[in-house]
């Protein structure tokens, strides 16, 4: 059965036993896959069928999935989405900076850093606890109302500040978990080379923490993209608000669906790219056939 010694690498041919096994495995895999696919489709089909054949389906379809309405509302919603994107990009950069600072402060040790640590903890606790909408109200309306010299009254400025403050509290926790997941011996190795605390942090700890926090960061980026619309309460129109305006014309909810599809078109490629990036950066994964 087994091949002759010496020709293994080039001319190996499976033995009969092995061919039997391979055949059996192939059939079983096919069958199981077919069952899995079939039952999945069946389930989806059943749900879909129940929805489509339900007494209210026609009305729902008209209200939520009207093609004409989708086409006519598309430009307005897309226009609103542009605001979401700009706010998201600018805020995301600021959020990364602020949250990284807070996270680093929270991982400092020693009595010297105590007041800073306290401040960082208080910040995270408060801004994570406060509903974003409230922060936007307080800053977006209260901020300009203070009439402080030198500060703009633009709703984008104050709304953006609220987003940054609120999100940074969350993202700081993500970074902190990442920093704490880097093994202490890496920090020691850096210090033993003569690198200072800051250099070690910058060149040794953070680059490693960075890869590990990509998936949760992605979660936060996706939700920022959507929450960026909340500053619509300050009077600027994002995709959802535009959809609402379109909806008010004839009480057809399709524009919301258009907005949803547009959001998905942004987030899904983003998620796929991050996944690939994270995997390339060495996520091993405990998943496996065994």
């Amino acid at each position: 059965m087994p091949p002759e010694a010496g020709q293994v690498d080039t001319a190996w041919q499976p033995s009969d036993v092995q061919r039997d096994r391979d055949e059996w495995r192939r059939r079983r895999t096919l069958r199981s896959a077919a069952i899995a696919a079939g039952s999945t489709l069946l389930l989806l089909g059943a749900i879909g069928g129940a929805v489509v054949s339900s007494p209210g389906w026609e009305r729902v379809q008209e209200t939520y999935f009207s093609w004409d309405k989708a086409v006519s509302s598309f430009p307005a919603v897309l226009d609103g989405l542009w605001l979401n994107i700009r706010v998201m990009v600018v805020c995301w950069i600021l959020i990364l900076l602020l949250s990284l600072t807070v996270a680093v402060v929270r991982t400092l040790r020693g009595p010297v850093a105590f007041p800073l640590r306290l401040l960082g903890t208080a910040y995270v606790d408060v801004f994570r606890g406060l509903p974003l909408l409230l922060v936007i109200f307080l800053l977006g309306f209260g901020g300009p109302a203070l009439s402080l010299q030198g500060l703009p009254t633009s709703p984008l400025f104050w709304g953006g500040t609220a987003l940054v403050l609120s999100y940074s509290a969350y993202v700081a926790e993500v970074f902190r978990a990442g920093i704490e997941s880097v093994h202490p011996s890496q920090r020691l190795a850096g210090r033993s080379l003569g690198l200072s605390y800051g250099q070690t942090l910058r060149h040794v700890v953070l680059p490693q923490a960075w890869r590990r926090v990509i998936p949760p960061l992605m979660n936060d980026l996706v939700s920022l993209q959507k929450d960026s619309g909340l500053i619509a309460v300050l009077g600027v129109s994002d995709a959802i608000r535009k959809a609402q305006i379109e909806t008010a014309l004839d009480f057809n909810y399709t524009p919301y669906v258009v907005a949803g599809v547009l959001f998905c078109c942004l987030t899904i490629p983003m998620a796929r790219l991050t996944d690939r990036y994270a995997r390339k950066k060495g996520y091993h994964g405990a998943g496996g056939t065994l």
Binding site: M1, P3, V8, W12, P14, Q18, R21, W24
Partner: protein, 266 residues
């Protein structure tokens, strides 16, 4: 350490097979081949282990020793060849791998204890889940086994709080507690401090004295010499030389074996 092995409950598989003629060998590999992608790690490996024997694999890093043990434990699917365990072709895909694995005990290089369970939890997990032993009985059997490896008083410690040698002894106890027919030991001392190596090797020597069948690989030539019934030298996925320790280590016939042995200096 003084609980004799034979006083343990009778082995499950020997009960099942009562009446059949007992095969002379417990484990038999015929023309086993295994590759990862283009990398052929094992090819044309023939090997037998008789009950009560201790077979030791030696060979350079990357020669495929661990892969061989993993194939026997069905943690890898072979590309070709037949592995017969206890009279049954376990490379047949229709075989229930979990059941086969539950009748072998495997100990890994880096000890792989479960950090979230305490020592007794590690030792009794498979007893409770796989062998259907009640919690009480599992506990007492686990404690007896810990007693045997000299760690009864560490039953409630966390693995992280143990020294490497202690961890490895727990790992051996965990593998041994369900009375496996065959113990597979993958370089069980290579991650240990040299002075802790002794305690683990002592334990293995003792097990061998009690008649436990073992297939293991090690870099400790002295130990291989002391306990092995048979030594197999692996090189590039093939068995190049096998025989008694005195033959293979003391008087190697093959050029490659000699080269390998000479590189292990200190």
């Amino acid at each position: 350490m003084n609980t004799p092995r034979r006083s343990s409950p009778p082995l499950r598989s020997s009960e099942q097979r009562r009446g059949d003629p007992v095969p002379t060998e417990l484990l038999r590999l015929d023309g086993v081949r295994k590759s990862f992608g283009d990398n052929v790690v094992l090819s044309d490996v023939d090997l037998t282990v008789e009950p009560g024997q201790c077979v030791v694999l030696i060979g350079a890093s990357g020669s495929g020793k661990s892969t061989l043990l993993r194939c026997v434990n069905l943690l890898e699917v072979v590309d070709d060849g037949v592995i017969t365990f206890d009279g049954r072709d376990i490379t047949d895909p229709r075989v229930d791998g979990d059941e086969i694995r539950s009748r072998m005990g495997m100990v890994f290089q880096a000890y792989n204890l479960f950090p979230h369970l305490d020592v007794i939890g590690n030792v009794t997990l498979a007893l409770r889940l796989v062998h259907g032993v009640k919690a009480d009985e599992a506990r007492s059997r686990g404690l007896a086994m810990l007693e045997r490896v000299g760690l009864a008083e560490k039953a409630t410690a966390r693995p992280d709080d143990l020294s490497g040698g202690q961890q490895q002894r727990v790992a051996i106890a965990r593998a041994l507690v369900a009375n496996p027919r065959l113990m597979l030991l993958d370089e069980v001392t290579s991650a240990l401090d040299p002075e802790l190596v002794g305690e683990v090797l002592d334990l293995l020597t003792e097990l061998k004295g009690e008649g436990v069948t073992m297939l293991l690989n090690t870099h400790e030539m002295g130990f291989a010499r002391d306990v092995a019934d048979r030594v197999c030298f692996l090189h590039d996925g093939r068995i190049h030389e096998q025989g008694t320790p005195d033959q293979v280590i003391g008087d190697p016939q093959q050029e490659r074996t000699r080269a390998f042995l000479s590189r292990i200096r200190y």
